[in-house]
């Protein structure tokens, strides 16, 4: 009778160090990440094609009623914004005349151009 090698009991791999490292990485990235602020108001951007771009320094939200929001609070255009890159998130149902009015205020505040956010179709 041929005796085979006695089947060795495979000991379970110790996965605790791996979990430690994975959580360390998780905590590291959680702490270094910047969570994007959520929209202060529900905006459905108009559909269209546009350019790729990063978020500007100043993001203004204009809801369908024409209310301007900045940093989570409604109100008028902030002071001293000249020279900043401005991104506008306007609702698709906003009246174009109201948007043009905001653009006029931005121009008088010293802004030369804005980026209007559109949703890809």
């Amino acid at each position: 009778m041929i005796r085979l090698c006695e089947p060795r009991r495979t000991r379970p791999e110790n996965i605790v160090p791996m979990i430690n490292v994975a959580f360390l990485l998780l905590i590291f990235f959680l702490m270094t990440a910047v969570i994007a602020p959520s929209d202060p108001v529900r905006i459905a951007p108009p559909t269209g094609l546009g350019d790729e771009s990063d978020a500007g320094e100043l993001i203004l939200y204009i809801d369908a009623d024409g209310t301007l929001w900045k940093d989570g609070t409604p109100g008028a255009l902030p002071e001293g914004i000249g020279g900043q890159s401005v991104t506008i998130r306007a609702d698709q149902n906003l009246s174009g005349a109201v948007l043009a009015d905001v653009f006029g205020q931005l121009k008088r505040a010293g802004i030369e151009g804005v980026n209007l956010v559109v949703a890809r179709p």
Partner: protein
Amino acid sequence: MSLALQPPRRRRVMSLTPMIDVVFLLLVFFMLAARFDQTAVLPVALGGGASDYSGPPRLIDVTPGGVRLNGVATEDADLVAAVLLLVETSNDLVILRARDGADVQRLVDVMGLLRETGLSRLTLVE
């Protein structure tokens, strides 16, 4: 007297269930917090003044149902060809104006038509 040491404890297999709970909690949190909508931007000039403008007037009144180029009612399909006759370079400024309650979606549609032909300097006036 015999010194009774504790018998060597067998290492217990660690339970993975709480860790999986936490990981799934984090997963659900970030899935809810993430923003998946794909957005792009339309650059809009704010009009650099009269010295910036050259050539014949290019004022497009955008209405909910159509457009008026310099006051002449035009179909959307014919607009681009008519505007191209009025520009010298694709860098020329084209002025849009919302009329009769045209909304932002309508403006973006017309801007898209113009941008398809390479007219990328658009401005919106009151």
